[in-house]
């Protein structure tokens, strides 16, 4: 009963229980969680852009409805994660500022362009497939609000991956040029997808501490291997070739051997020098600035029409229950 707060924290983590927002936590843990959750949130928000540009050019109403729903999900995932980050005492508008001023990063994958509609399918298949590999273990992350957000997100990612794969299957049944588009998009997205797991374990100094804190459950290389092993049979079924001459089944390891992505390119893209970095940030910044008057007007409206007087009149006894809103369903 006389354990220090630090010992209590260590015990909660060691017993695989969850740390909750108002618990004591080491400053390094809090900083790591804020950084990881907010960069994850930024990735979801920026991740709306590569596919969002195809909404108005989707080849059918069915594909447009699917793509709209998917991009809306990405926004939702970003908001779940900002919500989780805020439980650590950070302010959402401050996080947005850090994104649009470039002081916080997001996943390098979203700095590549989407050249054809096949890219939409390949993003669902490979990029969301890699995200699922990364995110499923995070459902057991030691920080409760993050783990719960990941549970919601993982439920929705499965739709993302399947719609992408189905899109590609449909194109592979189409014309020769459509099949070539799928092959071309697969070749362009393969290496950036492998980079999504982060640098090799030997160059990932934060991994060990994150695993001790049970923020991370597997190393970058373990997850990358798992992704490759899952994806190879999917590529075979689709009839596309993954662009790695070193890729082959290793009987003795019971896993695929594969080549390394260009880690110098990874560093350049993370550092801001990818094909679309400047566009992505400029677009997000414009949305923030162009929306400022809407946010201000909504606040002005709310101030003019307060729903609850500061002190309720005595002839309106407070039931202690939330008021039923029109159109909001029964409380």
């Amino acid at each position: 009963m006389t354990a220090t707060v630090e010992e209590q924290f260590d015990q909660v983590v060691a017993h695989d229980r969850r740390i909750e927002p108002r618990d004591w936590m080491p400053e390094g843990y809090r900083k790591t969680m804020v950084r990881q959750i907010s960069q994850h949130a930024h990735s979801e928000i920026i991740g709306m852009q590569p596919e969002g540009v195809w909404i108005s050019s989707a080849p059918s109403l069915r594909r447009k409805a699917i793509l709209l729903a998917k991009v809306q999900d990405e926004a939702g995932h970003g908001l779940y994660l900002y919500s989780a980050a805020e439980t650590l005492g950070v302010d959402r508008s401050d996080l947005t500022n850090r994104l649009i001023t470039g002081t916080q990063k997001y996943s390098s994958i979203f700095n590549y362009p989407t050249l054809t509609f096949a890219d939409v399918g390949v993003i669902g298949w490979l990029v969301d497939g890699a995200a699922i590999c990364n995110q499923v273990p995070l459902c057991r992350s030691s920080y409760g609000p993050y783990a719960r957000a990941m549970v919601r997100i993982c439920k929705e990612e499965s739709f993302h991956q399947r719609q992408g794969y189905e899109l590609l299957l449909t194109m592979m049944r189409g014309s020769q040029s459509q099949r070539e588009m799928v092959q071309d998009a697969t070749a362009r997205w393969w290496w950036p997808s492998l980079m999504m797991f982060g640098p090799p374990d030997a160059d990932s100094p934060n991994t060990a501490q994150s695993m001790r804190w049970r923020i991370k459950r597997h190393t970058n290389d373990e997850l990358r291997q798992r992704f490759v092993d899952m994806t190879v049979p999917q590529a075979d079924a689709l009839g596309v070739t993954l662009p790695d001459p070193a890729l082959r089944w290793n009987e003795s390891r019971g896993a695929h051997d594969f080549g390394q992505p260009d880690w110098e390119e990874f560093k350049r893209v993370v550092g801001g020098d990818g094909p679309c970095n400047a566009d992505r940030i400029a677009h997000r910044r414009a949305a923030q600035e162009n929306g400022a008057w809407v946010r201000e007007a909504a606040m002005a409206h709310a101030a003019k029409h307060p729903r609850f007087a500061p002190f309720s009149a005595p002839d309106q006894p407070d039931s202690g229950r939330p008021k039923v809103q029109s159109g909001g369903g029964s409380a």
Partner: protein, 99 residues
């Protein structure tokens, strides 16, 4: 709340969703909105895109009073030593049925 001339930050609302009839509302997360009506609509769009709810409560985060985890032991201590509140406290012979 908002400072004139500055970008207006919408306040934080906590969101509770009743998954289906027969269940309690459960806390699902939070969002920012200018007023409760907007919070309710945003909560619908954010937390019930796939029929996850039949009812939503929203409440401003700064209106919530919460127990503090630092005081967890003393705060909940009064229930710790009252084992007689549990049915297993009472020994009943094995041959007495339905009890």
């Amino acid at each position: 709340m908002s400072t004139p001339g500055q970008d207006a930050n919408w306040p934080l609302y906590e969101v509770f969703v009743r998954g289906k009839r027969g269940l309690n509302h459960v806390h699902v997360g939070s969002l920012h909105a200018a007023d409760p009506d907007m919070a309710l609509h945003h909560a619908r769009d954010l937390y019930t895109r796939r029929n996850e709810g039949v009812g939503i409560w929203v409440v401003r985060a700064d209106e919530i009073t919460a127990s503090s985890p630092d005081e967890r032991d003393p705060f909940f201590a009064p229930s710790g030593d009252k084992v007689y509140r549990h049915p297993t406290f009472y020994a009943i012979p094995d041959d007495v049925p339905h009890i």
